[in-house]
C-alpha cells in the first residue's frame, strides 16, 4: 500500500519528533566505552558513559588522534537519543484504524510478514521487482551484508544507498583521475602545507574539527583560499575569498588552470611531474585556453583580480592541500567540477608527498566504507566493479554462488524511485534512509512511495519515509552494536557496543539475516557477530583496490584506526604481512598497487594519473527572468542530514530551531523584507514559506536554506531532480527561484512544533 495510514500530525503525536531534554541521571557511570560519534564523516573519538544499560553522558577521548577530544555540539549531545521516548521498541504494522496509524506486532510475525510479502512479489513479478535502499551511516559490516542480501538472497540488481546524495561525484572523479576513490592524505599533512584551498565546503558547520587543521596550517604560515557563495566562518579569516556563483566551479578551476599554464615559466606548474606521472595534460590545457580571466570572471561572478590572485597563491606555493565537498559536487556537473579541482592538484604535482594532499570531505559517518563494500549499485566489495567478469567471479566464489547468478549493475537511488513510479519495482526494503526529506523534488518521491505494493523499513525512529511503510522493524542505534566505519581520511575505525537494544529492537544485521532465513534463503546468512561478517569482508576485499584484508578488530583497537589499503599479503611477493600498518598517504613515489603492479603510483595499468578537460556546463534550471535568483542548500552545525536523530534532541533544536531563508540586505530591501519577516521562496516545483535571515554574508543573487527539516519546512520539495550524468548525484546546490514577502505566518505554524 505504502500510503501514509493517517494524518502526518497524528503520527507525529504518537511517534515524534518529540524533544529530549538534558536528563542528568547523576552518579558515576559503571563503565566508559571508547567509540565514535554516530554522525558526520569525521567520526570523532568519544567515550560514552554507561549506567544500567543506558548512555548517560560522554567523556572526551583525548588520545584519539583525529579529534583529540574535540567534538561538535552534535557529538556532545548525541547521548540524548538513547532512551528517547520516540525510540521504536517493537515492530509496527500499518493500521489505518489505529489512531497513530500503526499497531505493534511481535518480532517473529513481523519477519514472517516481510519475508512472505517480498517473496510473493518476487514470485509474481521476478526478482527485480524488489529493491533495497541502504544508509551511509551503517557500519561497513552491515553495508556488506546488505549488498550480499540484495544480490544473493533477493537476486535483485536494485540496491543503492543514501551516499548517492553525498560524495559519489567525488568518488567518480577520483576514480577517473587516480583510479582509486579515497582522500589522498591524512589531515595531519595539512598542518605544514603552503596553501589550503577550501572549495564548496562550509567546514565550520559541516566538519567542524577540520577548522582546527586549517587554522593550524594558517598559524604555521599557510595561505587559505575559500571558494563559496557565502562567507562562512572559515572564510572570515581567509587570505582570499572567491564568491563564486552557484554551479560555476568548473569554470573557475579552468580559469585558474589557464593562468597556471600562462605562468608556467614562473614554475607555477610542475612539468616534470606531469611528464612522468600523468597523461592527458594537453586535453585539459586545450580546454582551459578559452577560459581567460575576463571570461572566467564573467561566468563565475568572481572578480578577475581575485582569480589572478588565486592562481598566484596556488601556483607559487611550496605545497598545498585542496579540500572540497558537496558545494562543488551536488551538481548536474559535479564530476566535472571535481575533475577541475584535481587538474589544479596534478598540474602542480603536489600529491603523494608530505605536507600535500587532496580530498573530499565525507559527509556521512561511513560514506567511504559503506560504498566500498556493498551498497552502491555498481560496486562489489573491495571497490570491485560489478560489471567486470573477473571481479564478479572472485566475489561469487566467496559468496558461494555461481557468477551467472549474480545480478548485474542496478540503478541509482533516484532512478529506483522512477522505477517504482513506473510500476517496475513493487516492493522495497529500506534501512536508515529518509528519502522523503533528503531527495530533491520530494513531492515526486512521495507519489512514488504511495505506489509501492509492499514497503518494509528498518529504523530506530519513525522517520518521515518510514511513515509510508507497511511494516517497520525496530533496528539499532549506533551505540547498540559493534562494527567498523571508514572516516573522512580513509582511516578504518572500530565502533564499540555500549548498550543492548531496548525491547524487541534488534541489531540491523540480525534483522537482515532473519528475513533471509524466513524467505527460505539462509545460505550465507548465518553470521553470529559483526566480527564474523568483517572476517568474510576482509577476504572479499582482498586483492581489490580497497583491500581490508590485513585489518583486524585487534589492530583497529591497538592502533586507533588503520588506513586502507592494508593487505594481508605483500601484493608483489604474496608473503603474509600481518604487521602491515596501513597506508595513510596514497601515491607516494615507488608505491605499489594491484592495478599498476609497479608501473607507477596511480591505480591504472600504466601507473599514471589522468587529466580531464573538466568542462563547465550551465546548471539545469538556471535563473532566468521569471526565476531570477539562485537557491542553494546546506547544513547547520547543530542538525544532521534529514534530522531523524537531531530534531529529537532538545538542546540541538534550541540552537537552530527552524530553517530560515538567508538573503543579502540588498535583495531583502528590493522586496521590502526585514530580518525575521515571513517570506516565500518559489521554484518551478513548489514553494516554501519561512522566516528571513538578512545577512551580508551571502551573494545578493543567492538564497540559502538548510535542508534538515521535513514536511512544510522541507526545502527539498523545491530543489530540482537533475542529476550528474556520471555520478547520478542530484543537483541540490543550485536551482532557479524567486522570492516574495509572505502575507503572514504560514498555516503550519499553528499546528507544528518548531522542530517538526
Amino acid at each position: 500500500m505504502a500510503k501514509i495510514p493517517t494524518s502526518d500530525l497524528a503520527i507525529t503525536r504518537a511517534y515524534g519528533p518529540h524533544l529530549s531534554a538534558a536528563v542528568r541521571m547523576g552518579g558515576e557511570p559503571e563503565k566508559l566505552v571508547k567509540t565514535h560519534c554516530c554522525f558526520c564523516g569525521q567520526q570523532c573519538g568519544i567515550q560514552l558513559k554507561v549506567r544500567q544499560n543506558e548512555v548517560i553522558g560522554f567523556e572526551p577521548w583525548d588520545e584519539f588522534p583525529f579529534n583529540r577530544g574535540m567534538l561538535c555540539p552534535k557529538g556532545v549531545k548525541r547521548y540524548l537519543q538513547g532512551s528517547h521516548p520516540d525510540r521504536l521498541q517493537s515492530a509496527l504494522r500499518r493500521d489505518p484504524s489505529s489512531p497513530s496509524g500503526f499497531r505493534p506486532m511481535p518480532y517473529t510475525e513481523a519477519i514472517e510478514l516481510a519475508a512472505r510479502e517480498l517473496g510473493r512479489l518476487q514470485e509474481a513479478h521476478g526478482p527485480s521487482s524488489v529493491a533495497v535502499l541502504g544508509g551511509a551511516s551503517l557500519t561497513t559490516e552491515k553495508a556488506y551484508l546488505l549488498g550480499k542480501f540484495a544480490r544473493v538472497a533477493l537476486k535483485t540488481p536494485y540496491i543503492d544507498y543514501n551516499g548517492r546524495l553525498c560524495m559519489v561525484s567525488a568518488g567518480a572523479g577520483n576514480r577517473r583521475a587516480f583510479g582509486i576513490d579515497r582522500v589522498t592524505s591524512p589531515w595531519s599533512d595539512m598542518l605544514e602545507t603552503g596553501v589550503v584551498w577550501v572549495a564548496g565546503t562550509n567546514v565550520a558547520d559541516c566538519s567542524p574539527i577540520t577548522t582546527n587543521y586549517v587554522w593550524q596550517a594558517r598559524e604555521n604560515g599557510a595561505k587559505v583560499i575559500v571558494q563559496d557563495p557565502r562567507i562562512t566562518p572559515i572564510a572570515r579569516t581567509c587570505d582570499l575569498y572567491l564568491p563564486v556563483r552557484p554551479g560555476r566551479d568548473a569554470a573557475l578551476f579552468a580559469g585558474v588552470l589557464h593562468l597556471l599554464i600562462e605562468n608556467a615559466d614562473k614554475g607555477w606548474i610542475d612539468r616534470d611531474f606531469i611528464a612522468a606521472n600523468t597523461i592527458g595534460f594537453e586535453k585539459a590545457a586545450d580546454y582551459c585556453r578559452a577560459w581567460t580571466p575576463a571570461r572566467t570572471a564573467e561566468v563565475t561572478g568572481v572578480p578577475e583580480r581575485s582569480i589572478r590572485q588565486a592562481a598566484e597563491i596556488w601556483g607559487s606555493a611550496r605545497s598545498s592541500f585542496l579540500l572540497h565537498a558537496r558545494g562543488i559536487e551536488h551538481h548536474s556537473n559535479g564530476v566535472e567540477n571535481v575533475l577541475g579541482a584535481i587538474n589544479l592538484v596534478l598540474a602542480t604535482g603536489r600529491i603523494g608527498k608530505p605536507n600535500s594532499g587532496y580530498g573530499t570531505i565525507v559527509g556521512q559517518a561511513n560514506g567511504q566504507g559503506g560504498r566500498e563494500h556493498g551498497q552502491k549499485c555498481d560496486q562489489l566489495p573491495g571497490l570491485r566493479d560489478i560489471s567486470n567478469p573477473e571481479h564478479r567471479k572472485y566475489v561469487a566464489r566467496i559468496w558461494g554462488i555461481e557468477e551467472r547468478d549474480m545480478p548485474g549493475p542496478g540503478v541509482d537511488a533516484y532512478e529506483i524511485f522512477r522505477k517504482i513510479d513506473a510500476g517496475e519495482i513493487k516492493g522495497l526494503l529500506s534501512i536508515c534512509f529518509n528519502p522523503k526529506v533528503s531527495l530533491p523534488d520530494s513531492g515526486f518521491v512521495t507519489r512514488a512511495l504511495e505506489k509501492l505494493e509492499f514497503y518494509a523499513a528498518i529504523d530506530f525512529f519513525l522517520n518521515d519515509t518510514a511513515r509510508h511503510a507497511d511494516l517497520v522493524l525496530a533496528g539499532s542505534l549506533q551505540e547498540e552494536d559493534e562494527g567498523t566505519v571508514t572516516q573522512v581520511e580513509g582511516r578504518v575505525i572500530k565502533i564499540n557496543q555500549a548498550v543492548e537494544p531496548p525491547g524487541e529492537a534488534r541489531q540491523d544485521w540480525r534483522i537482515v539475516q532473519d528475513v533471509a532465513r524466513a524467505m527460505g534463503r539462509p545460505k550465507g546468512f548465518d553470521f553470529e557477530s559483526p566480527r564474523d561478517i568483517f572476517n568474510e569482508l576482509r577476504v572479499a576485499s582482498q586483492y581489490g583496490i580497497a583491500d581490508y584484508s590485513g585489518i583486524t578488530y585487534e589492530k583497529l583497537t591497538e592502533q586507533m584506526g588503520v588506513f586502507w589499503p592494508c593487505p594481508a599479503e605483500d601484493p608483489k611477493t604474496r608473503h603474509p604481512t600481518p604487521n602491515h600498518p596501513g597506508t595513510p598517504r596514497l601515491f607516494e613515489p615507488g608505491s605499489y598497487n594491484p592495478i599498476a603492479k609497479g608501473a607507477g603510483p596511480f591505480y591504472f595499468p600504466d601507473g599514471k594519473a589522468r587529466f580531464h578537460a573538466a568542462e563547465y556546463r550551465t546548471p539545469v534550471d538556471d535563473p532566468d527572468e521569471s526565476y531570477p535568483l539562485f537557491l542553494t542548500t546546506g547544513r547547520v552545525v547543530s542538525q544532521f542530514l534529514s534530522g531523524t536523530q537531531t530534531r529529537r534532541i532538545g538542546p540541538l533544536v534550541d540552537q537552530y530551531p527552524e530553517p530560515r531563508i538567508e538573503m543579502h540586505p540588498r535583495l531583502a530591501a528590493k522586496h521590502g523584507i526585514a530580518d525575521g519577516d515571513w517570506v516565500t521562496c518559489e521554484t518551478r516545483r513548489a514553494e516554501i514559506t519561512l522566516r528571513a535571515m538578512v545577512v551580508t554574508t551571502i551573494r545578493p543573487d543567492t538564497l540559502f536554506v538548510p535542508y534538515h527539516w521535513a514536511g512544510p519546512k522541507s526545502i527539498n520539495r523545491l530543489t530540482v531532480a537533475a542529476q550528474d550524468p556520471i555520478s547520478k548525484i542530484p543537483q541540490f546546490k543550485v536551482c532557479a527561484c524567486r522570492l516574495r514577502k509572505a502575507a503572514g505566518a504560514p498555516d503550519y505554524t499553528a499546528t507544528l512544533e518548531p522542530q517538526q
Binding site: G69, C72, N212, P229, R236, P243, H664, R666, T697, I698
Partner: protein, 226 residues
C-alpha cells in the same frame, strides 16, 4: 590534588566558529548541573559570522569578590575564582555589575550567582575544562605556555587588561596577533564580488567623501538604497 599551575587557559576569538559546542559541553559538567556557564557572544550576525566565547577570566584580584557584601565569592589557592557559595550569596547582583568582563550571572529562581569555575571538578584533578576539550576549532585551548608558543607562532597570549584606571591580571589568557593585525575584514560578500571595493553601507559620518557614493552602473543591485 591542587590545580596544575603550569596548565593555562587560552582564548582565541579569531578561531571561533560559533558552533556552541562549548556551550553544550559546559552544561554537562557535574558542578553546574545542566546550566552552561560560558557566554558565546554574537558580534552582529547580520554583518558578520564572528562570534566570541567568554569564560570567567579568573582575575588575580577579582572585582566580583571585592564588591561582594556577603563574602560569598572565594578564590582558591590555585587561582580559581569560584561561583558564589550557596549559604552566603544573597543574590544582590553586585558582582554582576562590577565584573569588567561581564561574567557572573544571577539565577533568580535559585537566588544565587553562578559562573564558570574553570570546571573545578575536572581541572583540580588534572583534566582539561569541558569547553576547551571539545572546542572543535581550539578557539578555547588549555595547556602549557610552551605548547601554545609552539602551536601559535603568529599569536601571543596576553593576560593584562586595562579598564579606565583599573589594571587586571588574569589566569585566563587572550590570544592576540603578534604582528600588526590586518585591517578588520569587510564581511559584506559584495566587497569581494566587485572589481573595485563597493561603498560600504555603513560609513563613519565624520569624513564623508562625495565621490564614494556614486552607484555602480554594472551592479544589478546598485540602485537599491539601504
Amino acid at each position: 590534588m591542587p590545580h596544575h599551575a603550569h596548565l593555562e587557559f587560552f582564548l582565541d576569538p579569531s578561531r571561533c566558529i560559533g558552533c556552541q559546542s562549548c556551550v553544550q559541553a559546559c552544561s554537562e559538567c557535574d558542578t553546574h548541573k545542566g546550566d552552561s556557564m560560558i557566554h558565546l557572544e554574537y558580534i552582529d550576525r547580520s554583518q558578520s559570522v564572528q562570534t566570541v566565547p567568554m569564560v570567567c577570566m579568573h582575575c588575580e584580584q577579582p572585582t566580583c569578590a571585592e564588591v561582594c557584601p556577603a563574602d560569598a565569592i572565594k578564590r582558591t589557592g590555585d587561582g580559581i575564582v569560584q561561583s558564589a557559595r550557596k549559604p552566603r550569596c544573597i543574590a544582590c547582583g553586585n558582582c554582576v555589575m562590577a565584573c569588567p568582563f561581564g561574567v557572573p550571572e544571577l539565577y533568580i529562581d535559585r537566588q544565587i550567582m553562578m559562573k564558570c569555575d574553570m570546571c573545578y571538578d575536572r581541572t583540580s584533578i588534572g583534566k582539561k575544562p569541558m569547553c576547551a576539550t571539545v572546542c572543535p576549532s581550539q578557539a578555547l585551548f588549555f595547556g602549557t605556555r610552551e605548547q601554545i608558543d609552539a602551536l601559535r607562532p603568529q599569536s601571543m597570549p596576553t593576560n593584562r587588561f586595562t579598564f579606565g584606571e583599573q589594571t587586571i591580571t588574569t589566569r585566563v589568557n587572550v590570544m592576540v596577533p603578534r604582528h600588526k593585525a590586518p585591517p578588520a575584514p569587510h564581511l559584506d560578500v559584495t566587497s569581494a564580488m566587485d572589481e573595485r571595493p563597493q561603498n560600504r553601507t555603513v560609513r563613519l559620518k565624520v569624513v564623508r567623501s562625495e565621490a564614494a557614493v556614486e552607484p555602480r552602473i554594472d551592479d544589478p543591485f546598485g540602485e537599491v538604497e539601504i
